[in-house]
């Protein structure tokens, strides 16, 4: 049984797989970080079987009883207490499939594994291992040959010299002793979460695999193990338990969970009207078990579905089983009218006065802010872009930068920006909305800037202002003023200094005014009254 390529390609997005690109029959998909079982084509096949009605219901994990065992020594409890494992037998893998398994392992390390801190996985050639295994700790003088090396070396060398040791060594930096998996002959299989031994390396001739998963709690390690186990089973391996004991560890049951589900609730959430039987079918198409039982559905969730936390997750499975594309959108009735307190009045005024709006980032650079006369104060940690390192404390530097980029465009330039600037008051961050405008052309004057200021504040808003002298960067000495409304300073205005213009490589004269919009709006009554 199978399905045509076109059908498969068309349905992939409805499993939650984003199509990255396609080339003929080859399709690259991106899976969501809640479905690590989709990190190989085996997992995706299981999902497609469901929504294409080829196989529905829960994928059963068939696990042979244990022949071998692994003991856990108490000493690991303080370093990396949890371990689980399983054998996968009787199959070989080609290079392509080995590569897929390695990618899955890497994805699990990055996702639920949190870069191996929470969970680390080792995959071994089981035939190189003499059971029983012992999970214990050893000192840093202990020697073994790590993966990629033929010679044994002490652990402190492995940490200092191998790529994995350098990359993941910090995860064990506080430990004197290191967790280690040893076989019957005291041969090292793995030193989680850093590196496997070269002794158990998997090749394309390996027939039997042993998988270990270590971490800090049973749920994490067993969850990750179950994803690997179902993938290996689907790939063609026979799974076999390994008896595990010691500390809080156990042989992983890899057993499904049961969740009681009310189909009327999912109908309400999804806006559908399905019977209990139809709902049951949808759940099964999502590869969960489901049995209708009186007025409830008993859902059976396989262990590898770590993403299912509760009933709402099953509602989504119902939707996926139903097919998102079959759900017809409905427009709910509009009750009361909506509203906003954002006004476009200032923007209209500025446009009317001939000023064009610009939009700059709140995150600016030290250089631009300093050149524009605004000391860089509030920094962000580890910025990737050198143009985005500090939160702006004023709009003017950005406007100067805009003028600087536009020197080849016909003059005059009249620009304004309306946006948030940042400051600190007693160590706490504050955000205020400002408006600033710049006028740049050969003969621009202070009078023009003041005239514009009066047009906005007085003619349009009725705010009486005074402009007492105020010498401050980046203005020319003796050519700038505070904008005062009564006793409150609401902004400043002036002629940009030659030095500042030179820093921005602008030849033409520039006049500027800027003021705090919130101050005007918040206090408008008191400001107009004075």
């Amino acid at each position: 049984m199978g399905a045509p390529v076109d059908t498969i390609r068309d349905r992939l997005p409805f499993l939650g797989l984003d199509i990255e690109h396609q080339d003929g029959d080859a399709v690259s998909v991106e899976y969501s970080p809640n479905r690590f079982d989709y990190s190989t084509e085996f997992g995706i096949a299981l999902g497609l079987q469901g929504i294409l009605d080829i196989h529905t219901g829960m994928v059963k994990m068939e696990i042979e009883p244990a022949q071998y065992n692994m003991r856990v020594h108490d000493s690991v409890s303080s370093v990396r207490p949890s371990i689980t494992g399983i054998l996968a037998k009787g199959h070989t893998l080609d290079d392509y499939t080995i590569r897929q398994l390695i990618y899955m392992q890497e994805d699990l390390h990055h996702g639920p594994g949190r870069r191996r801190q929470r969970v680390a996985i080792g995959i071994h050639d089981a035939d190189k291992i003499q059971f029983p295994l012992l999970y214990t700790t050893v000192g840093r003088d202990f020697e073994f040959a790590p993966l990629g090396s033929t010679d044994a070396m002490p652990i402190h060398d492995i940490m200092a010299k191998t790529e994995q040791g350098m990359q993941y060594g910090h995860l064990a930096q506080n430990h004197h002793s290191m967790p280690i998996i040893l076989d019957k002959n005291c041969t090292t299989a793995s030193m989680p979460p850093i590196i496997n031994s070269s002794h158990t390396e998997v090749t394309s001739s390996t027939r039997n695999l042993f998988v270990d998963v270590t971490g800090f709690n049973q749920a994490d390690v067993e969850g990750v193990l179950s994803i690997i186990a179902v993938t290996l089973q689907t790939a063609g391996y026979t799974l076999e338990h390994v008896d595990i004991s010691g500390g809080t560890n156990r042989t992983p049951p890899l057993a499904p969970r049961r969740i009681s589900f009310d189909h009327t609730m999912s109908n309400r959430i999804l806006g559908l009207d399905m019977s209990m039987e139809e709902t049951t079918q949808c759940i099964k198409r999502a590869r969960l078990g489901a049995v209708a039982d009186y007025n409830k559905i008993m859902c059976i969730v396989p262990p590898y579905r770590m993403d299912i936390l509760g009933v709402m997750d099953i509602v989504e499975e119902v939707a996926l089983g139903y097919g998102i594309d079959k759900i017809i959108p409905t427009m709910p009735g509009i009750g009361a009218a909506g509203g906003t307190d954002i006004t476009t009045a200032l923007g209209s005024t500025m446009t009317g006065l001939g000023y064009t709006q610009v939009m700059n980032s709140c995150l600016s650079s030290d250089t631009i802010l300093s050149q524009g006369g605004s000391a860089p104060k509030i920094l962000v940690a580890n910025p990737k872009s050198q143009s985005h390192t500090v939160l702006r404390g004023a709009l003017l530097p950005g406007l100067m930068e805009n003028l600087s980029h536009n020197i080849h465009e016909p003059y005059p330039h009249r620009l304004y920006e309306y946006g948030v600037v940042f400051d600190m008051e007693g160590g706490a961050i504050t955000e205020h909305t400002h408006l600033a405008c710049v006028t740049a052309y050969k003969d621009s004057t202070y009078s023009e800037a003041k005239s514009i200021l009066l047009a906005v504040l007085y003619s349009n808003m009725g705010i009486k202002i005074k402009t007492p002298p105020y010498n401050v960067a980046p203005y020319e000495m003796g050519q700038s003023a505070r904008i005062m409304s009564g006793t409150q300073q609401i902004g400043h205005i002036g002629v940009i200094s030659r030095k500042c213009r030179q820093a921005f490589k602008i030849r033409d004269d520039i006049v500027v005014s800027g003021w705090e919009v919130e101050l005007i709006f918040d206090n408008k009554d008191s400001l107009t009254a004075s």
Partner: protein, 459 residues
Amino acid sequence: MDSIYHPLEDAIILHMKINISYTIPEMAKNAGIETDQARRATEWLLQKGDIRQSSPPRQILYLGPEGQRAKKDGLPEQRLMELIRSGMPPDAIRDILKSDWGPAVGICRKNNWIRMDGGRPIIIHYPDVIPDHTTLQLDWDNGVDADRVGRSFSKRPGFVASRMSPASYMLSSGEILKQAIQRQNQDTPRGMNVEADVAASYAARTHPLYDIISEIREIFVTLGFDEIHGSMVQPSFWNFDALFTPQDHPAREMQDTFYVRDVRVDTNPINPKDVAKIHNECWRYVWDYDVATKPVLRTHNTCVTIRHLALTNPQNARIFSLGRVFRNEKPSYKHLVEFHQVEGVVVGPNVSLRDLMGIQREFYNKIGLKRVKFWPTFFPYTEPSLQSMVYNERLGKWVELFGMGIFRPEVTGPLGIKGPVLAWGGGIERIAMMRYQLDDVREFYRNGLDWLRGVPIYR
């Protein structure tokens, strides 16, 4: 249709008389305008056929220094003939004529007026008219048309100087003058060359991205949504913890999120113990309040909407929040460090996923995106979760726009929010890129006047 006359054209016509030719400098002088203006107006009038060229530009001759002397003293050959006739001895004639003796003898012999007899000129035939004498009598002061001067005259060294005379023009008919006089007496505004090139003007305008933001705001208000606002710097609690994002989640790392250094931001948590409990249980770690106090530049606006819901706990609500969000990335043609998102929620006892899809479709429809479909996806704080795919006609492919879902019970429960909450959100720049047909999202923040002054406002 009547022709349109420029004031310069009329100025020229009105200063011309019928059947009189005028050069351009003459017309300019008469009309009191610049020569250059007269030249332009003449071109226009020629095209209209109102004037015609009465004479082309031509060569005009004036008397040179030798010509001037000949005019005063007579032509050398004339003087020679007269002196011979007076019987003066040849030596005396030579003394008088000086350097003219040679050329004069040459001309007279060539015309067979004299013959030489051992250095003595003897008259053969005394001419009635010395041919070039007639030429010499022309009105040289005003210049003589080169056509009227024979080669024998103009070839004499120093006899003539020449210069080019401009073309001259004449009215085509008396009617032209009459119409110009009529136009002169009319009160109506005169026409002008409406097809001429002009200098560029630039309208001041709001930023194109701001226009889209305003449009989106208006659409949500029309759909019954109230706008709410929040700070850009948020405590991690509202940006992450309240939204069920575990504290060790990769999205919270400095690689992806901007943490603001050395500042405090009020955390204002709601039910932090319940939030801690759900994190501890579901994500199996020990939730740390201190981590939740770290100030971040918000990575989405959902922090604003969720806090509003937790504070007000409404039975029914339609809320949206619109503003800047931040991601610690290297900017590229498709990714910005700082961009705009709109996020909305609907609370109500009977709202469903279909309603959520319907609201999205309605929004897209109003913004002009007609082909919409929905795919399942994953977000940590919604379940079920969908993403909308919108067909980009220009690129000929489906592109991902807003994400949406129903807030997880693990989000709403600890915050005391009742009932299902439909939530969605997404970037505005992507929609703006489609509207303005841009391929590089950085264009919006370049603020180049070449672009800002040129973007069409209307679709």
